[in-house]
Every structure is written in structure tokens, then in C-alpha cells.
């Protein structure tokens, strides 16, 4: 039986891991490669690196991080942030990433999803989408971009369906309302998206306790749950979280090394 994935997200700025609350006030918390190795040894199923570097040297810095991760960590990982062309995607895949995640750039020029899927296969193209609760939208959620700072006119459900048609092979759904709160995932929104698309959905934003993951994987119908703060600050280990999921009856990978 396919297992539920626990995905750890590392925000990388200038080669260092950072963490903010509701996309603001980021502080450095460590070396991304070092942290990734720790999570790998602890049984994480997948990793996501978001490049939030603003400087001109961003691509070189991130490429180096990706190469170092790929040399040591033998599980799939995805890279996002600032990827705006097929060449950017190719650079990250050649550096060793399994998948690339498109967010703001996909909203601004959706053809990049089609082009990426054609060039590398759908399984390499992840749509990252930031959703904000909004009663004026048909689905009840509005797509926001630029790390949550800019509202768009796109409805969440219409957008994820379009992205899937264009060739997105997976969707990472981040709730801006829940992000960084540690009060739990936005279950309604996750379930809505998961039932609307045929590709896997990774729930993101709001995880604070293992039972939050249980809820979103079971009731939210997510295929995977993304976490950050709850492991970055040492409140839980990845293994503890997976044991809790297993105890709740969810299929997870617990046997991780000989």
C-alpha cells in the first residue's frame, strides 16, 4: 500500500536555512545540507528547499546547496523559489533535484508548466500554490503570489485544475491563513483540492503537533504533509511524528536502515 509521506521544508536564504511566521521575520536556523542529512537519517520521506534569496547570485548559491544535498541524501527532493524558465528548471534538475516547484511564476506565465512537463516529464513539475480564505471567490479561496503579498484574481480550484491540465504532476498547497501558526492545517481547503485533482497533493502550513498531520492526511485527504517549525526547533523528530502517524493507523515508512 502506498505510504503517506512526511516532507520537511527548508527555506534557504543566501545558503542558510531560515524560518518565518506568516512569511515574515525570517531568522537563520542552520546549514541546509546539515539539517537535511539529519532529517534523512531520521526517516524523512522527501525534502523541499525553497530559495528565498533575493540577491543576484541566487542561482549559483542554490545550485551549490542542491549539489551538496544530492551527493549525500538518497531520497527525492524538490527545489522551489525564483524558478521562472525551463533553463532554471534544467539547472536544478541537473544539479540533482528530483522535482522543481513553480509558484508565482506559474501564475504570471502559466505556459511554463506546459513547457516544463514537456521537457522533463510531469513528475518533475510541482505546482506550489498559496491560498487565502476569501468568501468572494467561488471555491472560498483566492490564489496569492509573491510569498503571500500579492492577491490575484484567480480562484484556487480553477487554478489547480488548470495547472493539472497543463502538466503539473503534484500540488503543494500552502494555506496562508494557517502558515506558521502551528494550530493545524487548513483541512477544508486541502480536502477541496485533493478531491478536485488526480495528482498527489502535499498539504502545507500550520503543522504544530503530530495529530495535525493525522487530520490532514486522513480528513484532508492529502497524500503527503509538509512540516517545518515542528522539527526545525527540536519539538519533535521526524521519526516521532511517523510513529504517531503509524499509531493512528496511517501507512508510513518506519523501517529506514539496515
Amino acid at each position: 500500500m502506498l505510504e503517506k509521506r512526511v516532507v520537511v521544508c527548508l527555506d534557504v536564504r543566501d545558503g542558510k536555512t531560515t524560518k518565518g511566521v506568516k512569511f515574515k521575520g525570517n531568522v537563520n536556523i542552520g546549514d541546509p545540507v546539515e539539517m537535511a542529512r539529519r532529517y534523512y537519517e531520521d526517516g524523512v520521506d522527501e525534502l523541499v528547499f525553497y530559495d528565498i534569496t533575493a540577491s543576484a547570485e541566487r542561482r549559483g548559491i542554490m545550485r551549490e546547496v542542491v549539489e551538496r544535498v544530492a551527493a549525500e541524501i538518497f531520497i527525492p527532493f524538490c527545489v522551489g523559489g525564483g524558478i521562472g524558465s525551463v533553463d532554471d528548471m534544467r539547472a536544478m534538475l541537473l544539479a540533482g533535484a528530483e522535482k522543481v516547484s513553480l509558484n508565482t511564476q506559474a501564475v504570471l506565465k502559466p505556459e511554463i508548466i506546459d513547457a516544463g512537463a514537456r521537457a522533463f516529464g510531469k513528475q518533475c513539475v510541482v505546482l506550489g500554490v498559496d491560498a487565502l480564505r476569501d468568501g468572494d471567490m467561488p471555491s472560498g479561496y483566492r490564489v496569492v503570489i509573491h510569498g503571500g503579498r500579492t492577491a490575484t484574481e484567480r480562484d484556487l480550484l480553477a487554478w489547480v485544475r488548470e495547472a493539472e491540465d497543463r502538466g503539473a504532476g503534484e500540488i503543494v498547497l500552502n494555506s496562508i491563513d494557517a502558515d506558521g501558526t502551528r494550530d493545524g492545517y487548513e483541512l477544508t481547503c486541502t480536502r477541496l483540492v485533493s478531491e478536485a485533482v488526480a495528482v498527489p497533493v502535499v498539504a502545507s502550513g500550520g503543522a504544530g503537533r503530530p495529530d495535525h498531520l493525522v487530520s490532514v492526511l486522513r480528513d484532508g485527504k492529502a497524500d503527503a504533509a509538509l512540516i517545518a517549525s515542528m522539527v526545525h526547533y527540536g519539538d519533535y523528530t521526524v521519526f516521532q511524528i511517523k510513529e504517531a502517524l503509524s499509531a493512528a493507523g496511517l501507512p508510513v515508512r518506519l523501517r529506514i536502515k539496515p
Partner: protein, 201 residues
């Protein structure tokens, strides 16, 4: 011993290279038929559309070289698309494949909440006592990303099975050819162990 990784410009072979480096095996990446035929062990990884992959293999002469290499009796490990194009044909793009193993690659049915591609970690039930799985517990999880799966015509060719709505063949073996549908290079420490088992036997 010459270990070769087949490069046909469509595969995601970087991760196989880094895994072999981690395991401290020397290898070469080959893209020409004569280089492939010099190898003692061949890894044939990759992702992509079976039709597109076969086009590249036929055009480059690698298809014929792979057939000749297989006939020579030397060990070969196919990974992912490498476990599909070794069959006679694929439902994907209606491709005619290498024909090393009787059978065809079929599309996963999905449905009933099962998403296609089948993406993530899933348990692999292997033929007990097989040396590729030495040191690996029965039903260990490996990482999968695929929409098609191999269906060999001969039941003796079935090496592993995995459940995803249906029970499908997740690895096959025929003579000197072994092929896995999952990605050992992305399956953590047990995946590395499997690669080491293939390379060091």
C-alpha cells in the same frame, strides 16, 4: 570490473551516479554502443515516455547494443523506464521495445482515489532469498514514480510485487537481466544496499 551507466539523454541518471559515488564504485557513463559493449556490468536507468526513450535508443544504436549485451550473458540492472522498455512493447505511445523479456508495459488503472502516477514509498514483496535483496527485510518500502508497470508473460520472470489497487510486478528477472520499477537510488539506505548488492556480486 567496468561498470557502465547508460546515458541516452532522457534519463535522470545523475542520482544513480551520485549513489554509485557514495558507494565508492568506479563507473563510466556511456552513450555509444561500443562503450556499452565493453562493460562488465550495466545500469540502465531513466524516466520518460517509453516511445521517446525507444526512439533515442534506436537512433543512437544503443538499442541494438543493449540486445547484444544481454545476449552476452553479462549482468544488467534496469531502473524505472529501464524495467519497461526491456519488454516487447509498451502501452505508452504504443512503443515497440527492446524485446529482451516477453511481455508488455501496461498503464496503472488508478481509480477509486488512487492517483496516477503512483508516486511515493510503497512496499516491495520480493522472492525470498534473492541476492539482490540480501540484507533487506521483506516488504521494505522503496520510492516509486511511474504510470506504467511491467507485465512479463512468464511468471518465472516475476521478482517483486507491489500493491497499488492491483498487485503489479515491481521487479523482474530473466537470465542475466534484473529490472526494478522503483528507484533504488532514491530509496534511502536500503536502496543503496540493493545497488551495492547488484554491483558487488
Amino acid at each position: 570490473m567496468r561498470i557502465a551507466i547508460v546515458n541516452y539523454e532522457a534519463g535522470n541518471l545523475r542520482s544513480v551516479e551520485t549513489a554509485l559515488r557514495k558507494l565508492a564504485f568506479e563507473f563510466e557513463v556511456v552513450s555509444r554502443p561500443e562503450e556499452l559493449l565493453r562493460a562488465d556490468k550495466v545500469l540502465f536507468p531513466g524516466v520518460g515516455d517509453a516511445g521517446a526513450v525507444m526512439q533515442v535508443l534506436e537512433r543512437s544504436g544503443l538499442a541494438e547494443a543493449l540486445r547484444e549485451y544481454y545476449r552476452s550473458g553479462r549482468p544488467m540492472l534496469g531502473i524505472c523506464i529501464g524495467a519497461q522498455v526491456v519488454l516487447e512493447r509498451s502501452e505508452e505511445s504504443e512503443a515497440t521495445c527492446l524485446g529482451l523479456v516477453p511481455g508488455l508495459a501496461r498503464r496503472l488503472p488508478g481509480g477509486a482515489g488512487l492517483k496516477v502516477p503512483h508516486m511515493g514509498w510503497n512496499q516491495v514483496h520480493f522472492r525470498e532469498g534473492h541476492r539482490l535483496f540480501a540484507g533487506i527485510p521483506q516488504d521494505t518500502s522503496f520510492y516509486f514514480v511511474h504510470s506504467y508497470y511491467p507485465e512479463p508473460a512468464e511468471s518465472e520472470a516475476v521478482l517483486c510485487e507491489t500493491e497499488y489497487g492491483i498487485r503489479f510486478v515491481s521487479a523482474l528477472e530473466r537470465e542475466n537481466l534484473t529490472a526494478v520499477q522503483f528507484h533504488p537510488e532514491k530509496s534511502g539506505e536500503f536502496g543503496l544496499r540493493l545497488l551495492a548488492n547488484f554491483l558487488s556480486r
